[in-house]
């Protein structure tokens, strides 16, 4: 009976705490992950620093699209580490539950702070290698040393409680979850939810939240009216300024997709790849499918759907776009292209003007242009 206490406790604690504290982190990990049954994907993995753990981590992360499954996988990794570590210490004669629990808790912390499950798999593989090495090197029976059962169980339980509390309270993990929520809401177009997370109070605490909050206001047609509620700097507020990061590229991709400037949205979505280990990810590919569908580039929709079809978790998504094909757009003549409005990526206000020239003048564009104007006036007067 005793031997089931800690695995059960660990599974329950890890599963529940992950669901409660890291639900969106799990979804983000799936978005930034990639596992494709394609030659290029496996070749890239082969040249990675830790191919085996990356392969296992990439395989597992695709199931994170359902956060319950993701939490179950995290629990399974932590419990696996408990059993391996316990067995390892037993080889040295240390038959103590608390040692296995301590290692499992360390693995849990590492997993909670990591960007994907590859870290967990690396821990598992290292532990397995250590177990195999110890089994080969120390074949002699070692005198068994134990500690009082009561102390063993109390210490183990305390360790699990302490790590649960750490994950519950850790600012690092809270911050990760907050940004995962923001990214998720932005990509899904859940503007109300985005505004709940990126509220004024949060924006005052973390200025990086502001562009996302203003995007949500913009999508609801409230930007020009409410822009002054948020803290804005001269070169940062409605946009990310010159910062080159995944967050900025994602923001721009979502923004220009929402504005209807699909060429630029596709450009920025590809740009996200610069910050991803395989130059692309499930989320990037899904965004490319949607953007090209909106643009009317059916050949690209088919291409990205074919690629996503090489994963195990996109049947429904791919099926939707295959059943709702977009008509292939007509191509402009070279003469038309020669005078088509062009944009400078680092000039967001200029992009609005050029969008107007290209007859893309939906209410969101107008609202945003007016907000730019208002902000510029404010800083000019200042």
């Amino acid at each position: 009976m005793k031997k089931f206490v800690f695995p059960t406790l660990l599974v329950l604690a890890v599963f529940l705490i992950t669901i409660y504290c890291q639900r969106f982190t799990i979804l983000r990990q799936e978005g930034l992950g990639l596992f494709l049954l394609t030659p290029d994907f496996f070749r890239d993995l082969l040249f990675d620093a830790f191919p085996l753990s990356n392969l296992a981590g990439s395989f597992l992360v695709q199931f994170y699209s359902n956060f319950y499954v993701g939490a179950a996988i995290v629990s399974a990794i932590v419990v696996a580490e408990y059993f391996i570590a316990k067995g390892l210490f037993r080889r040295f004669g240390l038959d103590m539950e608390v040692l296995g629990v301590a290692c499992a808790c360390a693995a849990w912390i590492a997993l909670a702070r990591a960007a994907n499950p590859s870290m967990g798999m690396a821990i598992i593989f290292c532990s397995l290698a250590a177990y195999a090495a110890v089994s080969l090197l120390f074949r002699k029976k070692v005198e068994k040393r134990t500690i009082p059962a009561g102390f063993d169980i109390s210490a183990g339980t305390l360790a699990i409680a302490a790590v649960s509390l750490y994950i519950f309270l850790s600012p690092f993990i809270k911050e990760g979850e907050k940004w995962s929520k923001i990214e998720f809401a932005a990509v899904q177009g859940e503007w109300k939810y985005l505004l709940r997370v990126a509220n004024v109070k949060e924006a005052e605490r973390d200025i990086q939240v502001v562009p996302f909050a203003l995007l949500a206001l913009n999508a609801q047609g409230r930007l020009a009216d409410e822009v002054d509620r948020y803290p804005i700097m001269e070169n940062f507020g409605l946009d990310f300024g010159d910062e080159m990061s995944y967050r900025r590229s994602l923001f721009d991709a979502v923004l220009y997709n929402a504005l209807g400037c699909y060429n630029e949205a596709i450009h920025r979505t590809h740009q996200c790849g610069d910050f991803l280990p395989h130059c692309t990810s499930f989320r990037t590919l899904r965004m490319l499918v949607k953007e090209n569908h909106a643009l009317g580039d059916s050949l690209m929709v088919v291409k990205y759907c074919d690629i996503l079809d090489r994963s195990l978790s996109h049947r429904e998504f791919v099926g939707y776009f295959r059943n709702n094909p977009c008509p292939q757009r007509t191509h402009n003549t070279p003469g038309e292209s020669a005078v088509a409005p062009l944009i400078v990526t680092k000039d967001p206000m200029g992009i609005m003007l050029q969008m107007g020239k290209a007859d893309i003048s939906n209410p969101m564009v107008m609202d945003r242009y007016y907000a730019y104007y208002k902000v510029r006036e404010f800083f000019t007067k200042k």
Partner: protein
């Protein structure tokens, strides 16, 4: 063992083939279209699939210089199959260089996490790296150029912090920052002189702009450009009078095979803004070169008020170039096509047998001038793929064939474009590790 495997495979295939077979007099609808193409002896199998996704069986037999492929196709689970008329592939006696080098790049447009110069063995599906951007901390690697298609002597650019041009000569690898020597100008589009001493570069100030809603997503143009020459014996560069003129944009230098002449493209204009782009038409020009010196006379060999030339590549009396409606970056121009000029008569024709409704752009000749490899976006309009065609030496090309892959789907699944395909006469050693040492921080 091998024989047994083939036998078992045949049994498996025959077991899968439906019983009711009807015969069709037509060629099978296959992707890619390999019907009637001319291929070099020993090239890797040209694998294909049925365009409509049906299951199929292919039987190949060779008669003289022709390989006949008989395709029987059927719907999954159906008992009825169609046996199509065998289609031919012509095996040419003209040898082809065994490798093609190219850059693989994701369409990141500004920054790239993974990018590299790779080589592909034509006799197999083996693709190996020559230098990846692990060399220069994930910067850009581009503009590879081989001296006389040799795998032992070549150069490529590695941009970014501490970047420059990497020169590989046998075991020696060196890094030169062209902006810090001689003319003080950056170099692109290199062309190595056949005597091995000089390299011509264009030095361009290039911009890219994205379109808001146009079907051509990007326009790339040079605001300024000149041609510079590098002497590899002294590691010096200088501007060439007549090829770095104010009020003109000179670019795409390329030597004639005997090194006596430099071909290049040139447009009028001091600096170009994106509003003017539709009026920029590059002409083809040439200048003689002897004993390390250029002649004063620059000849215009092709010019148009409604079209622009790029990538002049000469073999014998034939000059192959890319023609687009305007500008200097044809890969984003859907109308870009390959054109062939007879340098003796000055006749120019659009090479319809190679062109498609989509973009055709960079191209190069094999060392014997019997084959041409070129890049095209005909599959999906966005990702560049490589096509090879046989040249009969008399101004005609055979139907081009897509660079074969182990499975056709690989072309669809690959998320990178092929850039700057160049034939190489042997396998190039992987220079990533050697080059990496040059970029240690």
């Amino acid at each position: 063992m091998k024989r047994w495997t083939i036998f078992l495979c045949l049994i498996a295939v025959s077991a899968c083939t439906p019983r009711n077979v009807t015969h069709s007099g037509e060629y099978p609808p296959i992707t890619p279209d390999y019907i009637g193409v001319t291929v070099p002896e020993g090239i890797a199998d040209l694998n294909f699939k049925m365009s409509d996704g049906r299951k199929f069986k292919a039987e190949r037999s060779r008669q003289g210089d022709t390989v006949w492929t008989k395709v029987t196709a059927w719907e999954k689970g159906s008992e009825n199959a169609v046996a199509y008329a065998p289609f031919p592939m012509i095996i040419s006696k003209d040898p082809i260089d065994p490798y093609i080098a190219y850059r693989l790049i994701e369409p990141g447009y500004e920054n790239w996490h993974d990018m590299g110069i790779y080589q592909r063995e034509l006799a197999s599906y083996s693709e190996t790296p020559i230098a990846t951007n692990q060399v220069n901390h994930r910067g850009c690697v581009n503009c590879h150029n081989f001296y006389a298609s040799s795998p032992d002597r070549f150069l490529f650019h590695a941009r970014g912090e501490g970047g420059g041009t990497v020169f590989v000569d046998g075991e020696n690898v060196k890094l030169l920052n062209l902006t810090k020597i001689g003319a003080g100008k950056q170099g692109v589009y290199p062309s190595w002189h056949p005597d091995g001493r000089y390299v011509a570069f264009a030095s361009c100030k290039t911009y890219q702009r994205f379109s808001v809603g146009d079907s051509q997503p990007i326009e790339v143009f040079d605001e300024t450009s000149d041609i510079i020459l590098m002497d590899t014996a002294t590691d010096s560069t200088w501007c060439i009078p007549g090829l770095s003129e104010a009020g003109k944009l000179e670019t795409f230098p390329h030597w004639s095979p005997d090194g006596s002449r430099l071909y290049f493209c040139c447009a009028e204009g001091d600096t170009i803004s994106c509003e003017d782009r539709g009026n920029i038409h590059y002409a083809l020009k040439s200048v003689d070169f002897r004993d390390g010196k250029f002649d004063n006379e620059i000849r215009t060999i092709w010019q148009s008020d409604s079209a622009s030339a790029s990538f002049p590549r000469v073999h014998g009396k034939w000059l192959l170039f890319t023609q687009s409606a305007y500008g200097t970056f044809p890969i984003w121009h859907r109308e870009a096509d390959l054109c062939l000029m007879d340098l003796e008569t000055g006749d120019v024709r659009s090479v319809d047998e190679l062109n498609s409704p989509d973009t055709e752009s960079y191209h190069s000749w094999s060392t014997n001038g019997k084959w041409v490899v070129f890049s095209s976006r005909r599959i999906d309009g966005r990702y560049t793929r490589l096509y090879i065609s046989h040249f009969d030496g008399d101004g005609h090309f055979s139907k081009p064939f897509l660079l074969p892959q182990k499975k056709y789907e690989y072309n669809q699944l690959r998320l990178q474009s092929y850039n700057v395909p160049e034939f190489v006469t042997g396998k190039v050693d992987n220079r990533t590790r050697q080059s990496k040492k040059l970029f240690r921080r």
